[in-house]
């Protein structure tokens, strides 16, 4: 062990320890469920504090990975586990942790398998944290695959009657991706005659046959996580069936790992061999975007509308990353921060609306009129999502889109069109929920969100607003 104080290892360990505490906590009775929930929330908050501390320790605008920690894991073959962070990975981690807290709000009153939900969620959080701090190909692969088990367990335990179908799809796509990635990893490791840090991938020289295989393997394995045709199938079926906001959230974070993989693996100057792959990916990407956006517009299910919004944005980010422009990458990092928080909030409150609607047996048209606090939060999130100047999505997406338009005008136009369609789908849904004429038909609204949750969500709105003014506002001296 080279470092005496390993803060990056600590942020992987905290959710894992939280998971162990949750596992051994007593669940019986209402107090027990609350206890399990509190342990999980505490673990996530503790990690948020640590992440903020890491922001203080690093030079945020310095390129390359910082606070690097190296552990010699194995001598033969000589494998070092390397951790490191930059502003992109840290922004994503912070957003994921905040999204988790919001997700926990959505399941705080859940009584069925609460302990299992918390245990597997924290395990997923620990693995995904490891994934974002991984700085070498082996730790990257280890966490890339390790996060599948908790998600599989969550889908199986909380899925609906159709779970058998989508679990099989989930396994097929993801395990195939993971196995291919493993072979590519070992191949790269051997070709380089030893340890390979992600930063060194830029300088890697491969022979043409190997290059074809390696890049194809990496593209397929990363794409297996992203909702791009033909890999979108499992994500679409999972998201249209899962009705637990926490699991929906976790399954929506998974594509982020594929997107992030492109950031880490693609060299700064793209090798000529990648030209074909990227062209194919761009075509598939924009076509998928347009189709999913149109389906989202037509589909009446609110959750599907959110899913189509998420998918379109993920593909936009992916296409942005493929440009390999440093400024765009930074904008994507800032944009992702708001995007993940907004998506989490929308899903949690959309679920809350659906629950209220079911409990009261009324239509959801105009329902928000009777829930003023919920209405404020949901409206804020929807308006931020569609790109109004309420979060970092506004400016950063503008920059990403302008760059993509400059790269390829046709692709940019289709992308813009898709964004307009998904935004209009979300706005239409919001107008329907706030329809004042139908307000009288809805319930009294006595179950509006509590004052505590409302205050917390107002704080989240403040965080988003500040991210619009200055993305790294919480870092002193940034």
């Amino acid at each position: 062990m080279l470092n005496t104080f390993s803060i990056l290892s600590l942020i992987i360990a905290i959710p894992f320890l939280g998971m162990l505490f949750t596992l051994f906590a007593k669940e019986a009775g209402d107090n027990g469920t609350r206890n399990v929930f509190s342990v999980a929330v505490f673990a996530v908050i503790a990690n948020i504090v640590m992440i903020l501390r890491i922001f203080m320790l690093m030079e945020v605008y310095k390129p390359g990975l910082q606070l690097v920690e190296t552990y010699n894991w194995m001598q033969n073959p000589n494998i070092d586990i390397v951790f490191g962070v930059d502003v992109l990975s840290l922004m994503l981690l912070l957003a994921i942790h905040i999204a988790f807290i919001i997700g926990f709000i959505g399941v705080r009153n859940n009584l069925e398998h609460q302990k299992s939900l918390m245990v597997w969620s924290l395990m997923f959080l620990s693995m995904i944290t490891g994934f974002f701090v991984a700085a070498d190909i082996f730790s990257f692969y280890i966490f890339f695959e390790a996060m599948l088990l908790p998600l599989f367990m969550l889908l199986g335990m909380f899925g609906d009657v159709k779970r058998q179908e989508y679990i099989n799809r989930f396994l097929l796509y993801n395990m195939l991706g993971a196995v291919i990635f493993f072979v590519a990893t070992v191949l790269l490791f051997n070709y380089q005659h030893g340890m390979l840090e992600l930063q060194q991938l830029n300088n890697m020289k491969l022979n043409s046959r190997l290059e074809y295989f390696i890049w194809a393997a990496i593209f397929i394995s990363l794409l297996s996580r992203i909702p791009v045709w033909p890999f979108h199938y499992w994500i679409a079926s999972v998201n249209s069936s899962i009705r637990n906001p926490m699991i929906f959230l976790i399954s929506m974070i998974l594509p982020l790992t594929g997107i992030y993989g492109f950031v880490r693996f693609l060299p700064k100057t793209l090798p000529s061999i990648l030209g074909n792959y990227i062209l194919i990916l761009q075509i598939i990407g924009v076509v998928t975007m347009l189709f999913i956006a149109l389906i989202g517009l037509i589909n009446k299910d609110r959750q599907y509308k959110i899913f189509s919004y998420i998918t379109v944005y993920y593909i936009m980010y992916m296409l942005g990353i493929l440009t390999r422009n440093e400024v765009i990458l930074l904008n994507i990092a800032f944009s992702f921060f708001s995007y993940l928080i907004i998506v989490a909030s929308m899903e949690v409150f959309s679920h809350y609306i659906a629950k209220e609607q079911n409990q009261q047996g009324v239509l959801d048209d105009g329902l928000l009129c009777a829930y003023p606090k919920l209405s404020i939060i949901y409206s804020f999130m929807t308006l931020s999502a569609v790109g109004l100047p309420l979060s970092s999505l506004f400016l950063n997406n503008f920059l990403i889109l302008s760059d993509l338009l400059a790269v390829n005008i046709k692709m940019g136009i289709i992308m813009l069109l898709s964004l307009v369609i998904v935004s209009s789908a979300l706005l239409k849904e919001l107008f329907r929920l706030r329809d004042a004429e139908k307000c009288a038909l809805t319930a009294s609204g006595q179950n509006d969100i509590s004052r505590g949750i409302f205050s917390f969500m107002l704080f989240i709105c403040f965080v988003l607003l500040m991210s619009f003014i200055k993305p790294l506002w919480f870092v002193i001296g940034a």
Partner: protein, 474 residues
């Protein structure tokens, strides 16, 4: 003479245990499974201690030679036996059955395997193989009642006899050719002389019985069949110990004695490994019996272990051994969990029996999932280390075809594992499970400690293994 006797003490302790158990069984009035377990435990511990002390001493150098390699395997067998005996004691207490025969046969098998590992004499190897196989057969008969079992047992007996005969004829052939039973003399002879077809057949006669003992496909049929039919302690012992013994002898023969014959057996081993990988994975998918399913996982893992050895580089031998150790530790955990799966005093053996077990036994179910994920080679679990080393070694040797087959087999095997996880976690509970013994939790705890050490600091084990395997390294 005294020095020779003292050096021979590891074997003497095991031999002494046999009449001791017999005497207790005959004359002691209050005797339970615990009594026989205690005797076996003490004798095993003494034998282990003596094995370590005399790790490089040989009482009869022309017949048996000890070194770090033999000591490593012998200790490994005895540790596994120690754990198995402990869990089996719980089984016999629960069933209120006599365990004298089980412990006697178990110690006899350990003794024969130890002799097989240490020997440098073809005659003793054949004798050890025959005795070990025969004792295994008698052990399989413990608890055997139904017709199906009788049929499977008879089949095993016939094949065991056949393979012992083939091995004997091969040993006689080598003796006729070289004039000696000694490994070294045979190795020297064939280093100077060219191989002919009869020599190759004789070599196969040594080689195939060992593969049969290990349960490598396509010679795995008897082992798998009886796994599903035999009682749990027998199933555990017969699936773990002979594998280690057979592997140790096979590796020693291939690297030290039949070195000059690599061109013949390398392609053969490749084929056997690929068959094992695919056969194990495909058969596991449709299997409904828990023990047989894990038996097929063993066949699949053996494919990996054999692929790892090829082509007998130092890296290959280490990677194969790491895989073997990780596999055995994981399987020991799996069998320990099987001892906890009990309903109305009956040990469960079908996958459908454990549906919804998570609701009542969450910790045991989670641990079994950990073991399953480990066998699947998923990171960062223990077998991932073995898988990584084996695949890395295959890549170094440009065996890309084998890598593809191994990965396809892995994907197939995952189906079987996920079916089991689904049954345990996602399906409604079908039975009320009995409370598991504290000793089982203790075993699982110990297993997890080793597991965690292996995952967090694999170098700690791997470096030591490399040192201990030095006698067969090049």
């Amino acid at each position: 003479m005294l020095a020779k006797i003292v050096t021979f003490s590891p074997e003497i302790f095991l031999i002494l245990a046999l009449p001791l158990i017999g005497l207790i069984s005959r004359y002691r009035s209050s005797k339970t499974a615990k009594t026989f377990y205690s005797v076996s435990k003490i004798m095993l511990l003494l034998s282990m201690l003596a094995t370590v002390i005399f790790y490089n001493r040989s009482p009869f150098p022309m017949l048996m030679q000890n070194n770090t390699y033999t000591t490593l395997y012998k200790i490994f067998i005895e540790l596994l036996a120690f754990g198995t005996f402990f869990l089996s004691c719980k089984w016999f207490l629960n069933k209120n059955r006599s365990s004298a025969m089980y412990y006697t046969l178990g110690l006899g098998i350990i003794l024969s395997l130890n002799v097989m590992i240490s020997t440098v004499h073809f005659g003793i190897l054949v004798g050890g193989y025959f005795v070990a196989s025969l004792l295994q057969y008698f052990m399989l008969k413990l608890g055997a009642e139904d017709y199906e079992y009788e049929e499977g047992g008879s089949r095993y007996f016939a094949f065991m006899f056949l393979f012992s005969g083939i091995m004997l004829m091969s040993a006689l052939w080598f003796h006729a050719q070289t004039g000696s039973w000694n490994y070294e003399v045979v190795a020297k002879y064939y280093a100077k002389h060219a191989w002919n077809v009869k020599d190759i057949m004789a070599f196969s006669g040594i080689f195939l019985p060992l593969l049969f003992m290990m349960g490598v496909a396509p010679l795995h049929f008897c082992k798998i069949e009886l796994s599903g039919l035999s009682i749990l302690p027998v199933c555990m012992l017969n699936n773990l110990l002979p594998l280690v013994g057979g592997y140790a002898v096979l590796l020693c023969l291939l690297t030290d004695v039949f070195t000059s014959m690599q061109a013949v057996y390398l392609p053969f081993l490749q084929i056997v490994a690929i068959i094992s990988l695919l056969w194990g994975a495909i058969s596991a998918i449709k299997e409904e019996n828990l023990r047989r399913m894990f038996g097929y996982c063993g066949v699949y893992s053996l494919g990996f272990i054999i692929l790892g050895i090829l082509p007998f580089s130092n890296n290959g031998i280490t990677s194969s051994f790491v895989y073997l150790v990780s596999y055995l530790l994981t399987m020991w955990g799996v069998y320990t969990v099987f001892f906890a799966f009990k309903s109305n005093g009956e040990y469960l053996s079908s996958i459908s029996d454990i549906s919804g077990v998570f609701a009542q036994k969450p910790y045991v179910s989670v641990l079994l999932t950990v073991f399953i994920v480990s066998i699947a080679g998923s990171p960062p679990m223990l077998i991932f280390l073995g898988k990584l080393q084996v695949i890395d070694n295959m890549m170094i040797n440009h065996a890309y075809g084998e890598v593809v087959v191994a990965m396809i087999a892995l994907l197939l095997l995952l189906n079987a594992f996920f079916k089991m996880i689904r049954t345990m976690f996602f399906e409604p509970r079908s039975k009320i499970f009995d409370r598991a013994d504290r000793g089982i939790y203790f075993c699982l705890f110990v297993n997890m400690v080793f597991f965690l050490i292996g995952i967090l600091n694999p170098a700690l084990f791997i470096e030591r293994f490399e040192l201990l395997l030095e006698p067969i390294m090049r």
